[in-house]
């Protein structure tokens, strides 16, 4: 929340002039008839996508020159909001003159960018970005009809966020590389989930096959599994450094040194010590201990003895260990 969130403006105020003009006066609306396709010596393609019951439906017409696969004419009909109509109009325009294979590469991001007045100012508010997705889908539908292939064959990767066209593989990779812990961080890094928000979790505007919350949970579970496996393997081969250890391994390593080099000295004087907690305070590792027996209350516990314990642990385990008696 911030000042700009306190008075919610009309979403219409955030439409670009291009969106406004195309909504008011779409240039490519209409249909291509069989007669017109014959005149052009072209193949007529009519593709439908969406449904009125879902709030958006579009019909795309192509007249395609079968000799060159070029789209000679492109028109649309659209049931939808202003953004959907404007997106459909620009989508139809972007198809003209392209081959079918080139048209398939047009994404909703291209459509939205073509609707911008200024290169760096979005054409629509974030939640309306999904209206441009239908344009991308209907092109694939038209291309699949023309080529006689399945629509899915144009999808090279599984897209999680259709508004920002972010793939599952990208999201997983970004989580791993940057050790992301929240959906907000995923959005910051990739823009996934920044627009209509349907891909964040169930219950949004559209149902999805997979959601960011699940991808995050699954990826982090796998990362943890990998970390544990790496730690176990390194431990087995004796190559494990303190920073790569699990909490249990750290306690074990510390206890081993304490048992071998420190506790015997303390016990001789009727004392002892126990580990209470280890906290990462990078670059340091803070080891909280409690003195037992004669060590408890001994003045040396915060001076000489403490220095000796800390020095041994730094020397034998990790130079960043700090010992803090409580």
């Amino acid at each position: 929340m911030a000042k700009n969130d306190l008075v919610s403006g009309s979403i219409w105020d955030e439409y670009s002039n291009q969106v406004v003009n195309r909504m008011n006066n779409p240039q490519h609306q209409g249909e291509i008839t069989e007669e017109r396709a014959k005149e052009l010596n072209a193949k007529l393609i009519i593709a439908d996508f969406g449904a009125e019951s879902c709030g958006d439906a579009v019909r795309l017409y192509w007249a395609v020159d079968e000799a060159t696969d070029k789209i000679l004419e492109s028109k649309f009909k659209s049931f939808g909001c202003g953004t959907a109509i404007a997106s459909s109009d620009v989508m139809a325009e972007l198809c003209i003159g392209k081959t079918v294979d080139e048209a398939v590469k047009i994404t909703n991001i291209d459509v939205e960018k073509a609707l911008r007045d200024e290169p760096n100012t979005p054409a629509v508010p974030p939640q309306k970005m999904h209206c441009s997705v239908m344009a991308y889908d209907v092109i694939k539908k038209a291309a699949s009809q023309y080529k006689g292939v399945d629509m899915e064959s144009f999808e090279e990767e599984e897209i999680v966020c259709e508004c920002a066209r972010v793939s599952l593989a990208t999201i997983k990779e970004v989580i791993r590389i940057n050790d992301l812990k929240t959906v907000e961080e995923i959005t910051d890094y990739t823009k996934a989930g920044a627009f209509c928000k349907s891909c964040i979790k169930p219950g949004g505007h559209e149902d999805k096959d997979i959601y960011l919350v699940d991808i995050l949970a699954d990826t982090r579970a796998l990362m943890e599994e990998d970390r544990l496996k790496t730690a176990a393997d390194a431990s087995a081969s004796g190559e494990l450094t303190f920073d790569k250890m699990t909490l249990v391994q750290r306690i074990k390593a510390l206890d081993t040194i304490l048992d071998e080099d420190i506790r015997p000295m303390l016990v001789m004087d009727g004392g002892n010590m126990e580990i209470i907690d280890i906290k990462e305070n990078l670059p340091h590792y803070d080891l909280y201990i409690r003195y037992l027996g004669a060590c408890s209350g001994c003045a040396s516990g915060s001076t000489g003895t403490l220095y000796a314990i800390e020095s041994i642990l730094q020397q034998k385990i990790d130079e960043n260990i700090r010992v803090l008696p409580i």
Binding site: S8, I11, W12, M23, N24, P26, Q29, E31, D48, A51, E52, S53, C54, G55, D56, A57, V58, R59, F76, K77, S78, F79, G80, C81, G82, T83, A84, I85, Q127, K128, H130, C131, C196, K197, S198, G204, H205
Partner: protein, 398 residues
């Protein structure tokens, strides 16, 4: 021409109401709780406002009408007050409401659910009306409150408040009604209806924004939502906005007297019917919920093949303000729950446009609006992928 047909969202402040309010900004600006003449000088008009409020809903002098900031606050006060008084002490743990209430009710109930309270959201029938029998069916021994709106904001449908009130009275369960969309449109009589609480907002009946009311039947203990000073008899803390209270009182007086209600149910209804009939002449249009038993100013019409937001867009270009429950027109892309409640036809959720009139609309405005609506439907249906291929017999050029 500009034509405002979104009066269920808010209304223009009646200029006469505005005149009544004016002195309380720069002349009679004292704090009503002060002892001196500046404070006490506000009291006569405040009392007059209360007189108007009490007579407007036929409240007994022993009842309370607490001046709040809006109906949302009033709704929150009732629901959270009952939670504190009847539920947290372990007596009860159940609230009944409907699926089509305003978010001020549903979101508050959802919050209580997160606190362990059991809430039943009753569905409406195919006409968008909650049947009193369903309230009876879902009443439980541990029901603390029934909260059902008096009239629906989207459809204008009037709910059987008297019947529900009787059922609640017999069962010994407290009954609240959000009367925000009813006051000034139909007679709201708290005695006749057996309600224990009603909420209302001044800006829905040509009063100012930022002021509302909560009626509480005498003898009912209700923990305040706002604690602080002793204003409103200790039932709602905070310095009273005298200008707004005076405005609300006078607006209530203007909206609820016999002549005003007669005007609403004759003149306004005639204009609404004229607008509605003209739209229904277009093929494949339907009044959502049907035409029976509605507030006289409201019509919610589905226009097949025309998405609600694009319809509003075109009307806005012509200077006309209306409303839609379509998901595409909302900040969060959530369709209005009232539209979803008509589950039999999911297409309605995207094609419903609400026109809500007031006494300030003129016949000339309605004629202009009809022309603009017909033009917009023609253009958008011509654009529409879903309508362009409807059977020829349905289209008649539209």
């Amino acid at each position: 021409m500009e034509v405002y047909l979104d009066n269920n969202a808010t209304t223009v402040v009646d200029p006469v109401v505005y005149e009544e309010m004016k002195p309380f900004f720069c002349e009679k600006y004292g704090n009503p709780n002060s002892l001196h003449r500046f404070g006490a000088g506000t009291h006569p008009k405040m009392m007059e406002a209360l007189d108007y409020l009490y007579s407007g809903i036929n409240a007994d002098d022993e009842d309370d009408i607490i001046v709040t900031a809006n109906a949302t606050e009033s709704n929150n006060t009732v629901i959270k007050g009952i939670w504190v008084d009847k539920i947290l002490n372990g007596d009860k743990n159940h609230i009944i409401t409907s699926e089509v209430e305003h978010p001020a009710i549903t979101a508050t109930c959802k919050f209580l659910e997160s606190q362990g309270v059991s809430v039943t959201y009753l569905p409406v029938n195919e006409e968008g009306v909650l049947e009193a029998s369903s309230v009876k069916e879902y009443l439980r021994d541990d029901t603390a409150l029934v909260s059902i709106m008096w009239a629906n904001n989207e459809t204008g449908k009037i709910f059987p408040i008297e019947e529900i009130g009787q059922i609640c009275k017999e069962a010994g369960v407290l009954f609240h009604s959000d009367a925000t969309q009813a006051i000034g449109k139909i007679k709201v009589d708290v005695q006749k209806a057996n309600v224990d609480f009603i909420s209302f907002s001044a800006h829905k009946f040509h009063g100012p924004k930022g002021v509302g009311g909560l009626y509480v039947r005498k003898g009912i203990k209700l923990t305040p939502l706002l604690h602080g000073g002793e204003q409103m008899g200790g039932k709602r803390a905070g310095t009273v906005d005298v200008a707004s209270m005076v405005g609300m009182g006078f607006a209530m007086h203007l909206a609820t007297n016999e002549m005003a209600l007669a005007y609403e149910n004759n003149h306004v209804k005639k204009l609404r019917d004229k607008l509605e009939s003209a739209i229904l002449e277009l093929p494949e249009t339907v009044v959502i919920g049907g035409v029976e038993n509605r507030t006289p100013n409201t019509t919610l019409i589905s226009i097949r093949g025309v998405e609600g937001e694009s319809m509003l867009w075109d009307l806005n270009q012509k200077g006309i303000g209306a409303s839609t429950g379509s998901a595409c027109a909302s900040e969060d892309l959530e369709a209005n729950p009232v539209m979803n409640a008509f589950g039999s036809d999911s297409e309605l959720a995207h094609t419903g446009v609400r026109f809500s009139l007031s006494r300030f609309n003129t016949e000339e405005q309605i004629d202009y609006a009809i022309e603009a609506i017909v033009g917009a439907v023609k253009r958008l249906r011509n654009l529409s992928s879903s309508y362009a291929y409807a059977p020829e017999s349905h289209k008649s050029g539209l």
